[in-house]
């Protein structure tokens, strides 16, 4: 690792000039300038697909730009690989961690490190890890195996790995996307401490409040181009949002339609998780027509199992599920779909979509069974394509290029496509799990608007979300899940973040 930085350097850490990078003729970056100073946290703000990750990947040596120059510490460099970038002190923490699960933290740190010999001193390594950890709030046990660590701890290991490699320019690609609010807060502390020690940090995000909370400067990208940059002290969230999206944003308003008949009743349902332990226990939820019931809770408290039990992907051990007067407890997924159940799954890329197939096929995933897409056993390719074009237009799905795999679309467009498919089936009940997780501001807004309109049209919506703001903005009633049990249920007007926070942490609250 870098021997502790003797003095805080000043001046320019990195300068990227006129960076252009095209993929299949589409500009991911177009003539982007970016500069980074030692000792600063520089936020790179933009929607999904704005070119943030591409720009970072260029600096991290993963992509070679079509044109443009990179200067590090004033010197022009040519970064041919992440390895070379690391040798220049540039390292990136990717959204998907690159750790070996079965190895310990210490082993992951030495893996690929140029000074790792055949024999290494475990003790000196552990001492260094401990020292780095204390200094920057990155405590993690060097002997622990990576698979035993929480997501937040794994991220710390990624950062430690780079610091141990001597990285002085640290790039974090949407680091908070996988963290709880508390973990995000800790991460910000770490980043600040690193910057105070003279490291230069690029913080990629699409969340405005994070920019305001942690960054010294911000650069905004839109459609692959730089649209502006300023010190955070001169920025305000509304201006940044406008720069990022290119227009003013309005918060979707939830009108209050009187709820109708109960359409979905979950009665005393108990189900096991993948490891055979009870993941949800005696859950009671009722959703009425035109009602949005929000299920809040910290991830891993039975939300996924709840959604799977309702949609037929998991068998309950006890209890009953009634939909529109029909007992569907033992019904197959297909029968439930035919009864009018729509499902927006949490895992968009593997469950919600067959990622390797073209979008048109994915949009047909449920409708292919009936005319006009098929007659008898025969499928009409033309009807599949026509329907896809219509839905793409109606739901504003962008970036579709013929037969290319769906997985190449941005998260927001994939989610729009899933909603397009589910809503076009005119469901009576919609289960939406983490409907806006990981999406950018404009997409979040569009998805929420769609959910609200769907509820207004009479659909009963069970929305499972870890985003409290989303729960509060959209729900008519809030259910809190904790360790698989309903910890509390509150009508919208009695729910507030503090109360929900306590329930989510497992504390009984009398008012509930």
């Amino acid at each position: 690792m870098a021997e502790s930085v003797p003095e805080v350097p000043s001046g320019e850490a990195a300068r990227l000039t006129g960076i252009t990078k095209h993929f299949f003729g589409v500009a991911a970056n177009e003539d982007v300038d970016f500069d980074l100073r030692w000792g600063e946290i520089h936020a790179l703000l933009g929607e999904n697909g704005a070119g943030k990750s591409t720009l970072c990947s260029v600096l991290a040596g993963l992509y070679h730009p079509d044109s443009g120059e990179i200067h590090l510490d004033g010197e022009p460099v040519d970064l041919g690989s992440p390895h070379q970038a690391l040798d220049h002190g540039v390292g990136m923490v990717y959204q998907h961690f690159r750790l070996v699960d079965r190895f310990t933290v210490a082993e992951n740190l030495t893996l690929g490190h140029p000074e790792t010999g055949f024999f290494t001193s475990r003790r000196s390594l552990e001492r260094q890890v401990g020292e780095l950890g204390r200094r920057y709030g990155l405590e993690v046990s060097p002997q622990a195996a990576v698979w035993q660590l929480s997501v937040g701890e794994q991220q710390r290991v990624e950062i430690l790995k780079l610091l141990y490699r001597g990285v002085r320019i640290l790039i974090l690609d949407e680091p908070t996307a996988v963290l709880t609010p508390q973990e995000s807060h800790n991460l910000f502390g770490t980043l600040r401490a690193l910057a105070d020690d003279g490291q230069a940090i690029i913080f990629v995000t699409h969340k405005l409040d994070e920019v305001m909370a942690v960054a010294d400067r911000v650069t905004v990208l839109r459609d692959g181009r730089k649209v502006g940059g300023m010190p955070t002290s001169e920025a305000d969230p509304a201006t940044l949002a406008r720069m990022m999206v290119g227009r003013d944003l309005s918060v979707p308003e939830r009108p209050r339609t009187a709820p109708g008949e109960p359409v979905l009743s979950i009665k005393g349902v108990t189900a096991e998780g993948d490891r055979g332990l009870e993941a949800i226990r005696d859950v009671e939820i009722e959703v009425r027509a035109s009602q949005i019931v929000g299920v809040a809770g910290v991830a891993g408290n039975g939300q996924r199992e709840l959604a799977e039990v309702v949609t037929g992907l998991r068998r309950p051990k006890r209890g009953q599920i009634i939909m529109g007067g029909v007992d569907i407890t033992r019904s197959s997924t297909l029968e439930r779909i035919k009864l009018g159940l729509g499902f927006v799954p949490e895992d968009r890329m593997r469950t919600g979509m067959a990622g390797g197939l073209p979008l048109a096929a994915n949009l047909a995933l449920k409708a292919y069974r009936q005319p006009p897409l098929s007659r008898g056993p025969v499928l009409s390719k033309q009807a599949v394509e026509d329907r896809a074009r219509t839905l793409e237009k109606q739901f504003d799905i962008r970036g579709v290029r013929g037969a290319l795999p769906t997985s190449l679309l941005s998260g927001g467009n994939i989610q729009r496509a899933i909603l397009a498919r589910e809503l076009s089936a005119r469901p009576r009940v919609l289960v939406a799990a983490a409907p806006t997780r990981g999406l950018d501001v404009a997409a979040i807004q569009a998805i929420r608007q769609l959910l609200i309109e769907e509820a207004e049209a009479g659909t009963a919506i069970l929305m499972i979300s870890e985003d409290l703001e989303e729960i509060l903005d959209l729900s008519d009633e809030v259910i809190v899940l904790y360790e698989g049990q309903v910890m509390g249920r509150l009508p919208r007007d009695r729910a507030d973040p503090d109360l929900l926070g306590m329930l989510m942490a497992g504390r009984k609250v009398d008012a509930a």
Partner: protein
């Protein structure tokens, strides 16, 4: 990933979607490379590669006898190739076409011997072929049922069942006085021949209508995979079984049907080999590895049903030419070698479809690069 070579550097980037040109060039180049490597091996063993290759083309394709011979050998390969295509498309790995082919031959020869000349030619032939397909499908079901409902590994089970099928066939002819064995031949055991009326009609020379049936099934499989609900479900299940379950598809039934269709194709191939070429249950002629070669054929055809036809003909021409090479003093094993090299080169060529290589000067400024491949 990058590799430094003096002042130049090779950089590998993964490409998400290969261009049309690359999709054409990579396999073409792979085939050419395979022949070059084959030539080097021939040279190293003191043979004349030009002579060997011209002989292979001559014995495989030049003249009526050569062409019909090649097509006769290609016919069963088309069936086992299609069998592999259907199952591999859904990422279910039926390695058991060999056994399904053998049992198809057992069943159709059995039915042929049983009906004799009682039902007439056409009906008898249809019965034989249906029996072959059915036997292949049912034999595949032995592996498909546990795969669909208990999630056992179909690679192991289908592979092992090949030996079961081989054992059954050898028992029927060599180790017992079964219904299949000709009791008149006591010295060397042979299968009893079916009546002449049950021979598949011939078109040119010895070339029988099995080829037409093979072509017809190629079209049917292509159409079924592309234009039916079943084909759509196979495609979705192959890409993401979870997405298939989520959209209400019965993944277990899909596994069962795909493996049984695959088995039926291989079994039909066995039936056609009996009806068109052998006319009896001949263990030696039926255990030449047609099922395994079908896997190679499907892989070389990149799992395209129509690709199976030219690849099967190419591979068949090798086998057809092998005895002729032997006469010239060129070891016939060269064709097996060439088949293997071809397979390796194509698989390696696949890598170029997914990655591109850039050569660039390390010293020069960014942008001085020449994309290749």
């Amino acid at each position: 990933m990058s590799l430094s070579l003096g002042p130049r550097r090779l950089t590998v980037e993964s490409r998400q979607v290969p261009s049309r040109l690359v999709r054409f060039l990579a396999p073409t180049f792979s085939v050419a490379l395979a022949f070059v490597i084959g030539a080097l091996i021939l040279l190293a063993t003191g043979q004349d590669p030009v002579l060997a290759y011209t002989e292979m083309i001559r014995k495989g394709f030049v003249g009526r006898l050569a062409i019909t011979g090649t097509l006769i050998i290609a016919t069963p390969l088309i069936f086992t190739g299609l069998a592999a295509v259907v199952s591999f498309r859904m990422k279910v790995w039926n390695i058991g076409a060999e056994g399904q082919f053998i049992l198809g031959a057992v069943a159709s020869s059995g039915v042929g011997l049983w009906v004799g000349d009682q039902v007439g030619g056409p009906a008898g032939i249809v019965l034989m072929l249906v029996a072959g397909a059915l036997a292949g499908a049912l034999f595949a079901a032995l592996a498909a049922l546990p795969r669909a409902y208990l999630n056992t590994d179909e690679v192991i089970s289908t592979l092992m069942l090949n030996f079961v099928a081989l054992g059954i066939m050898n028992y029927l002819i060599f180790s017992s006085f079964s219904f299949w064995r000709d009791p008149g031949r006591a010295t060397f055991p042979v299968g009893k021949f079916v009546e002449d009326v049950l021979f598949l009609p011939r078109m040119v020379g010895r070339l029988h209508v099995g080829l037409i049936i093979a072509l017809a099934f190629t079209v049917i499989i292509w159409w079924a995979l592309r234009y039916t609900k079943w084909g759509f479900e196979v495609m979705v299940t192959g890409d993401s079984p979870r997405a298939a379950l989520y959209s209400g598809m019965r993944v277990d039934r899909k596994i069962l049907s795909v493996l049984m269709v695959s088995g039926a194709l291989a079994g039909l191939g066995g039936g056609i080999e009996v009806g068109g070429v052998l006319h009896n249950l001949d263990p030696r002629a039926l255990s030449l590895g047609v099922g395994f070669t079908g896997i190679v054929v499907a892989a070389l055809a990149r799992l395209s049903p129509f690709g199976v036809i030219p690849v099967a003909i190419l591979v068949a021409s090798f086998s057809n030419a092998a005895p002729g090479l032997q006469v010239l003093g060129i070891p016939s094993e060269i064709v097996i070698l060439l088949e293997g090299i071809l397979f390796l080169c194509i698989v390696a060529g696949e890598w170029f479809l997914r990655n591109s290589i850039r050569v660039e000067r390390t010293a020069g400024p960014a942008g001085a690069e020449a994309p290749v491949s």
